[in-house]
Symmetry: D2
């Protein structure tokens, strides 16, 4: 097979981005788009005249002339749609989060293995220039042992009706963490706050999450829809070097600091234990390709060749599991939840 015939389910907030990218890819044919809202479909029709549109998503999941389905619907619908698509032999790309429960995610992973179909989750940031550059530095051991990852993703955010700040934002940072760090999460503790009272007043708009990894590395995530300033920044500290990934600084998205601490010899230890070391700083050139384009290409390639996606079902499952543990810790008032 050299051409992947793709259908997109969901043309609301994110779907049009997938549609735009699949439409322009060479080895892929965007066959059809489904959405419950005829207005959304009209918009698609205007921009991409040749694409079929339908309000019946289910019909696309069984059609023999469709090889792959990209699902960009609300999270609680992911599982049912993906299951049906896999059962009908489709490759499946799912918008993050993979599902809204670990159990469902596990089932999808199993089903994809059984049907030998590609199951991939759209953790877009994993395909971005800065994150891939950092992964390259981890691979070459330029940072040394990774001591910590500290992530801040805060803004005066869009409150949405169907989710809280953790399900909304954490998939980004947890997937970045999972991709960058070669270690297994062992413990989660999290605290949240719901100062804005709507629905039943229990929708978190601020969250602090600590995830400990099995190699001793500590990772922390600050998420908020209630910040007066927009910050999207990850600090990573290693035994050799440290770095700052500031998503919003176009000129210096990744800055590597030749900084750290040196411990002086045993004898001297009693007097002056740990000394700062500071050297040069540099910002490598970052590939500016649109991450979503890279992601879509990767999905098509994996579906066509059977290659395992970087953000496969398991990586999606891992993120869902961490979010469930986060929600559990928050329900328990911040207690530590083992994974």
């Amino acid at each position: 097979m050299t051409l992947l015939r793709v259908a997109v389910v969901g043309a609301g907030y994110w779907g049009p981005n997938l549609i735009r990218n699949f439409h322009k890819l060479g080895n892929c044919q965007l066959v059809a788009v489904a959405d419950l809202d005829p207005k959304a479909l009209n918009g698609i029709k205007r921009s991409y005249g040749s694409v079929e549109t339908t309000t019946d998503a289910g019909s696309l999941l069984t059609r023999p002339d469709i090889d792959a389905v990209a699902i960009a619907t609300p999270p609680h619908t992911h599982y049912q749609l993906a299951r049906k698509a896999l059962e009908n032999g489709k490759h499946v790309l799912i918008e993050k989060p993979l599902t809204d429960s670990t159990a469902d995610a596990e089932e999808l992973v199993k089903l994809a293995e059984k049907t030998k179909r590609t199951l991939m989750v759209d953790h877009t940031f994993v395909y971005s220039g800065p994150v891939r550059k950092i992964r390259g530095m981890v691979d070459s051991n330029e940072l040394g042992e990774i001591w910590y990852l500290d992530s801040v993703r805060i803004d005066l955010g869009l409150f949405t009706n169907d989710t809280n700040v953790v399900w909304d934002l954490a998939p980004h940072d947890l997937s970045i963490m999972g991709y960058l760090l070669d270690a297994r999460p062992v413990e989660v503790s999290a605290t949240g706050a719901s100062p804005v009272k709507y629905f039943d007043g229990k929708v978190e708009s601020i969250a602090y999450i600590t995830v400990r990894l099995d190699n001793g590395c500590i990772t922390h995530f600050h998420l908020s829809w209630l910040s007066p300033v927009k910050i999207r920044r990850i600090l990573i500290g290693g035994s050799k070097k440290m770095l700052v990934y500031d998503h919003l600084d176009p000129d210096h998205q990744v800055v590597i600091y030749d900084k750290g601490v040196d411990i002086t010899s045993e004898e001297e230890r009693r007097r002056f234990l740990v000394q700062r070391r500071t050297g040069d700083m540099y910002a490598p050139k970052i590939d500016q390709t649109e991450p979503l384009e890279t992601m879509c290409k990767h999905f098509v390639e994996c579906a066509l060749t059977g290659k395992r996606p970087i953000t496969d079902g398991v990586s999606g499952l891992n993120v869902v599991r961490l979010i469930e543990a986060t929600m559990e810790s928050m329900r328990l008032g911040g207690a530590v939840v083992a994974l």
Copy 2:
């Protein structure tokens, strides 16, 4: 009494700053300085010829011609020195933290009440222009209900032999929090990391602390000696306005944002619940007086008049209690500790 006769115990890292300020105050006479290190005393002698120096701190605590003692020695010595000074009728100023245990702090508070002497802790930031400006905004209810306080104090820091990052840095932020927010801490949870191995490898150089207040406000503190970049920033979000206090931005130390969220009427709720509101931003002029000067003046005034200090023994005790709870939570791997 119109002139306070002051002795300073400890002329190491911070003591000289106290000495310099007490020396130049009008209604105060710097009588003597004690330190175990004769070199430190020589330095003081050179700069302030008329001041007595001694290696025997104890002798200063009992002298009748000394009214007040400022203690700038290592934390574990604060309690003994302060107790003796209070027992001998001296007013006492203690470098932060007040003591290294809650029990000791409680005793000093009681003793100061019994002897009717001023007991004050040097929480310097409470006397800084930015923090006093923010307190003024809280007083005038400009921010509305305070929803959260988020503090980051990270740097490639000076590791010290006798303490961890929490005892070193948290007094600053916890005292600011205690001064700004009119609510009682009820719960602490904290996680830390000790990636740099020295001593027994258990000295935390990174810490995340969550303190919940009895009015529902959430406060969070990120402390680190292992950051490649220096950040000293507090975000405060209120129901009316939000602000950023960036200690390192000389021109805009406090920036107030007329930003927030509005909840739309009940009927519309099902469709579009929470809307962002953004307006002007402003940075008020900040008093640039050296906070330490303001603090020293305040101590002298309180000692001379019997006025209650802003950072009295109780506020010092509160900070020590929070730090003890933080350390307890970290020992328990992040468990929630009730206060």
Copy 3:
């Protein structure tokens, strides 16, 4: 007339932006687009199926079913196209600069007056939120007497074959200056540099321009295609307040400083003449409407109603005159050129 029938000539770099905006306006019908390049026309056809396309621009300028023509072709073609359009009774919008010579610009202005047609130049920045906000402050005399305007527009720029950095960038800043300051330019002096050798080696890629106004205000413009950092910032200093307009700072595009100097009374003058005054700083909320949309709406409104455009032919002429004087001064090695 309640509907303006518009043709766009030129679908290269900027034309598509005009097309997109005219296409979505309510009281305007985008009838046709002309370009020499069939590929460009195909792109337009794909996006806006109902629009006629042609490689014969001339045909559009005479058609009776077209009321207005927007010209987005290279500058040296503006005059001929605009003249023919005006002569045929069309309203005309011209991409900046209006023309490439003062004489041509003067003729177009006269012709538009004679034919009673709207002649407008697309000085887009004049229609941006920040610039209109500043104009409002000038109107209300919030800044006091304007002492200076200092503009920096530098980047590692796109070198183009048919122009230098002055013709490329100065129209932006000179039109902003002309719009904001109620005073007449009287003198220009400018120096440039052409370190990158191509064509005949005389294409300026760096320029410094000083324009003095008849009220004593000094304005200065730094333009460069050869800067490692991108800066787009205008400082305006008034006798009452000063401001910074930083186009690239999304959160604080305009910041007003309550700063200045006070001169002390005559007697004290001998000792301490001029004292700094510093107060609060604020950043007003800025309208984020796309400037081009506002500009296109304004053109349509002016053409339909006969209202005089803010950026009319005269303002376009003024900019061309200043650029010619700038080029003359640079040819003379920096000599002062009177206007």
Copy 4:
């Protein structure tokens, strides 16, 4: 001679900094300090008990037990004091600017040559870590051919009674330029403004200066006492790399950009002439030694050994000559002045 006996004339604004540094140097003895103001001398006496003080500067210039004189008095007094000191066989360090006229500066240079004494001007920035680091890069040809130097030094400044913004600030930047660039200034053009009216209303508080060098390099200086924001930044563009020296950015004072433009081959030239090239960015570690300390050490070393100072009389003369040409150009309304 292994110990230089130094007197400092002038203990006003800058003198105390020289005194503090000479006092702590090993191979130098601070013998005496002169100032017309007894209060200033009392302050010196309090801090440095062993130093002689006098209100009679003249007496120090002839004393046989003094080897060198550092002059930190108002500029119009530099020449007379320095001449007398040189005539009496003293080595002389003069606060910037060397003199207030080219003629005087030339005389001092000649006199120092005749008397074989060290004549040095305190162009402090030349001794700073960032400037020395950049000089190292020029030496190693890391930047390639230097195309331009663009300097901005603006602030809400201290207006002083005895000078304008050019004489006050330009010595810093012109001395940096003279030190960094191996080329001879050939032309100066400058414009200024005096919006704040005091004295006779002709004291410039804003200036723009262009200096062309004999190798084609263009340098430009923006000086202002009337900016709401403080900027001290120099851009240097070379054919290989470009850099930003931001004096106020403590973590990244010098940032080197691997950016530039490439000209494509002759044939392609007609279509796409100049292409941007962007690569990594880095910020080398900068020596943080106080520049004044390095400068004072260098003066003592040169006086003791006969070594030629980096900022010798000639470099001081060059700066004065450029400032005189600047003032001349401003008097002529911006005309180009040949050097």
